[in-house]
């Protein structure tokens, strides 16, 4: 890939001195140029690359649908699950996809609260990634129940048997947590889109585009009152999404931690799961951003500095995950509990040792390359690393779930192998994710235009920006 050759940029663009103001958008673009650059992929005819990518993703989605239909018709016997191994690919995939989603919320909410303005370039499609990843995640517990027509029993709906869901169960907390997370992510995303939908409406050349974007934009006209309410609502949504995202993966970890299985019943799970979620989510944002910024010529908006920052976050969260792995071992030894100790020795040296060492390599060793600035700014290196990290994070959940294969009695030990159906379902879920993502790239602005314009130097009415606009009269 020739993408490694980053054009030489002036040194001042890199915030080595934290007191200096950072130029977030390169190339000195005007407001109108930002609009044009971001709207181009939505307004111009689809490229051949888009069609190829969409075609592959859509074929994989077809595979997913076929596997789900097969499962519903035959039952979960077509999967490799057994006793004692009642969870396998299904829950691994669920936790993996939810985790990927979390980076979108981290970027859109937590970085917003911390006033990390560089996030404006990537938050829109990171949020889209969140929504699509959570859709994929929700598929797995749904089909794992087997008789999916009974799924309504997870909801508190009055029924003829007069019974209610078991509210003391973490699995039910999960239904509410992931359901809320999905809904709030959609609300946050849609609200952020309203001003940009208005831009598309006002640029529409055809009646149908004008009508569709017009309805979606709801008559937004960008008045000062609009913006005041909008900004306040956006800030509050960021404020409530932050504890929400932390709660969601904590609750997902409760699925394990509230049980009394050795290796699962541990208090480190909530923070460790959240750190892992952010880690894998950033890796997925990275994979997508590297391709999208190049394919849609947005390298001035999603700059190498953005990628550098994301690599730093991956390094930090990778270290947190590595710390959690070692602390799990320490606590199992320190507890003096035979079953705990056995579980962890078994993880590293038992039948699933291969998975364990893939996990350690991808999640702990690979991110260490980001200590070096040249690696953080090399596109091929970070692209490969981001994919390896997602592989590693998938194996992390797999390793945790495979604890079930060696439970308290050796006579009930088993070994789990996925069947071809489970492997095809996993590939198919990637198809679902990428189909949605390709449609998003084609029909919605992938960069939050209003927010990016706001971080241009000429957007500062008080003349503090580097554009040197004269200062306004004090109000």
């Amino acid at each position: 890939m020739s993408t490694a050759t980053v054009p030489p940029e002036p040194r001042e663009l890199v915030p080595d001195d934290p007191r200096r103001r950072l130029t977030l958008v390169h190339g000195g673009h005007t407001f109108a140029e930002i609009t044009r650059m971001v709207c181009a992929p939505v307004e111009e005819p689809a490229t051949r690359g888009w069609w190829v990518g969409f075609g592959i993703a859509f074929a994989a989605l077809g595979l997913f649908v076929a596997m789900v239909v097969y499962l519903v018709l035959v039952g979960i016997g077509i999967w490799g699950l057994n006793s004692p191994q009642g969870w396998g690919f299904d829950i691994t995939n669920f936790v993996w996809w939810v985790g990927i989603g979390h980076a979108g919320t981290l970027i859109s909410a937590i970085l917003y609260l911390f006033r990390q303005k560089w996030r404006t370039a990537i938050n829109r499609f990171a949020e889209a990634m969140t929504i699509f990843a959570v859709i994929c995640a929700l598929m797995f517990p749904t089909i794992h129940v087997g008789r999916i027509w009974m799924l309504w029993m997870a909801l508190p709906i009055p029924n003829w048997e007069a019974i209610w869901p078991q509210f003391r169960s973490p699995l039910l907390w999960d239904v509410f947590a992931v359901g809320t997370y999905f809904t709030v992510s959609v609300i946050f995303w849609y609200m952020g889109l309203i001003p940009d939908l208005a831009t598309l409406r006002d640029r529409a050349k055809s009646k149908i585009r004008w009508l569709v974007y017009g309805i979606l934009a709801m008559g937004w006209r960008g008045s000062a009152r609009h913006w005041a309410n909008y900004e306040k609502a956006y800030l509050i949504l960021a404020g409530i999404s932050t504890p929400l995202v932390l709660s969601v993966h904590s609750i997902v970890s409760f699925d394990f931690a509230v049980s009394v299985i050795p290796g699962w019943h541990t208090t480190i799970f909530p923070p460790y799961f959240v750190a892992g979620a952010i880690f894998s989510g950033f890796a997925m944002v990275m994979t997508l951003a590297i391709v999208a910024r190049r394919a849609f010529r947005l390298t001035d908006i999603i700059t190498i500095d953005h990628l550098d920052n994301m690599n730093k976050i991956m390094l930090a969260t990778g270290m947190m995950v590595g710390y959690a792995y070692s602390m799990e071992f320490f606590i199992s030894w320190y507890s003096g509990n035979k079953y705990e100790m056995f579980t962890f020795v078994n993880r590293a040296f038992g039948p699933y040792a291969w998975a364990y060492w893939i996990m350690i390599t991808c999640n702990v060793l690979v991110p260490q390359i980001f200590w070096f600035r040249n690696n953080r700014r090399s596109i091929p290196i970070m692209f490969v690393a981001s994919i390896l990290i997602n592989v590693g994070m998938w194996f992390e959940r797999f390793v945790i779930i495979m604890s079930l294969s060696r439970d308290f009695l050796p006579s009930s030990w088993g070994y789990y192998k996925p069947t071809w159906v489970e492997i095809c379902t996993l590939i198919g879920s990637l198809g679902l994710f990428f189909t949605l993502f390709f449609l998003f790239l084609r029909f919605l602005p992938m960069v939050a235009m209003a927010e990016v314009k706001n971080v241009l130097p000429q957007a500062d009415p008080h003349g503090h920006g580097q554009g040197g606009v004269p200062s306004g009269e004090p109000a």
């Binding site: 007069a162 006002d202 937004w220 913006w227 309410n229 609502a233 306004g472």
Partner: protein
């Protein structure tokens, strides 16, 4: 794209007079000037939020936080009530020797529903306070208004203003640096 104010027959009841500006700094300065001249009902339109514009226009703060607080209280209390009523009143079952009303186990869903209702309150509150959805608004009649979501900044003196007078508004907007000054019909 004429820079001259358009000479039009005096309208019956216009919505107001609107001018276009090229930079946020010009808009902010013009808003401050018009306020200083005593206008009360002026509104600015921009492709992105501009810091300090609310104060310059004399707008008060947003009421969104109170709406969201209401949503949060409603959501959390309905979450807790739902779990209490189903687990302790409608069909009490002992599980793991826990009390029927197991508060610690009910925290996650109470919290989640609080967040869910707050998010709806934030979105719907924002739309309601902004009077959206609203398919038609007079400001869209300004011939350049399609650029208000792209790269131009607009200031409108509304006809409901006690000081409103078409000629004076046009002159004041022009003095403040506005271009393409138009009378927009209601």
């Amino acid at each position: 794209m004429s820079d001259k104010p358009k000479a039009r027959p005096a309208p019956v009841a216009p919505y107001g007079v609107m001018a276009e500006f090229v930079t946020p700094a010009e808009l902010l300065r013009a808003a401050g000037r018009l306020r200083a001249r005593g206008y009360k009902n002026i509104e600015a339109y921009s492709p992105f939020p501009i810091h300090g514009l609310d104060t310059a226009l004399g707008h008060g703060g947003s009421k969104i936080p109170w709406i969201v607080l209401g949503g949060a209280v409603l959501g959390a209390s309905s979450g807790l009530l739902l779990q209490w009523w189903t687990s302790a009143v409608s069909y009490p079952i002992k599980v793991g020797g826990k009390p029927y009303f197991s508060v610690p186990a009910f925290v996650p869903i109470t919290f989640e529903l609080g967040v869910l209702f707050s998010a709806f309150a934030a979105l719907l509150g924002m739309l309601a306070l902004n009077r959206l959805p609203q398919p038609y608004h007079p400001v869209f009649n300004h011939t350049h208004f399609h650029r208000a979501t792209d790269d131009r900044f607009f200031l409108a003196v509304e006809s409901v203003d006690p000081m409103f007078n078409v000629e004076r508004a046009e002159r004041d907007l022009s003095d403040a640096g506005g271009q393409n000054i138009e009378v927009v019909q209601a």
